[in-house]
Subunit: 211 residues, 2 copies
Amino acid sequence: MKDTKIAEPTVERLVQYHRLLEQLAAEGQKVVSSREMGEMLSFKASQVRKDLSYFGEIGKRGVGYHVDRLFKHIGGILASPRLWSIGLAGVGKLGEALLGYQAFRNEKFQIKALFDVDPSKIGTHIQGTPCYSIEDAPRVLREEGIDVVIITVPTGAAQSVADRVVSAGTVKGILNFSPVTLSVPDSVLLYSVDISIELEKLLFYLKHRER
Amino acid sequence: MKDTKIAEPTVERLVQYHRLLEQLAAEGQKVVSSREMGEMLSFKASQVRKDLSYFGEIGKRGVGYHVDRLFKHIGGILASPRLWSIGLAGVGKLGEALLGYQAFRNEKFQIKALFDVDPSKIGTHIQGTPCYSIEDAPRVLREEGIDVVIITVPTGAAQSVADRVVSAGTVKGILNFSPVTLSVPDSVLLYSVDISIELEKLLFYLKHRER
């Protein structure tokens, strides 16, 4: 399995299969076909079969895949070798929403430190996690051994916060939610989530549907 | 331009080019090369050139593209024929974050109605928008002519909220932020944003980088 070469859309589909299987298992479903999975996730059944067979899972014709087994198998591929330590910079509404987001509370990562500029937040615990001044970020990130920082600060502050995070010298990845293009060194893996892009895409396709 | 057939990743890149060009224009940059754009967005320069030439924009060798002109050109492709009316169901932290999100406040759409189950929110205005009971959603959606509903309710409520939204009979699209796979009729365009998937992808690649 040459999984260093797995393309990003494939990883995304794997995560989606994993979520769906968890949901099906919780609903008590025992088997699922590639067609069903494809329909529920808006992928072609052939795509599902191709992805799963690449990872060594072949469904039984007329039966499909065992939900529990497939869930565990994909879980193994996505598994982390260790618990990741996460920091979050910008405890505004989006930051607090992420802190409370169920899917952000799992066994793969732990949110260990928050950073903000608001004196009323600095020095307190928010949803159980200590909040520090953004100015102390480089020191705290090093001391806490934080691997990844989620950036949910206002657009105008995002690059300077990213610079501080990078200056810690120990952070390996940044997940940026600010709708701005950040510049970081190649040694830091940067992912950006622009949550309004999906709305733009949806509206783009609606426009063409209406014609 | 057969733009009904534009693939989703292309639309996403167009939106990203548009955002980047807006940012460059605000910073006073006059021209930009495909290489620069590619570097800033982590695409190959050849991808940028291919996308832009598909839409009729050819950069000048050694000069690049005019930032303003390209911004307007892509803006035209992404333009809406009219103002879209948006509803938002679930005014929790994520819902409030979206309401306050700058990029969600633009000239293409207007958030016209909010829906929640919390009696302390129903009947009030939140960030200037009226909040209704989710039970009244079918009627309000029809009366307000709402095209798209953003769902930011807890996971367990997402499907029943989607069902209510669909039952209005007039909603054309749903943008779902709940980490659950929803089922809607084909007549409704469904997009889902699972904001934790990006963190999972980031961690997956970090794992392989560390090996």
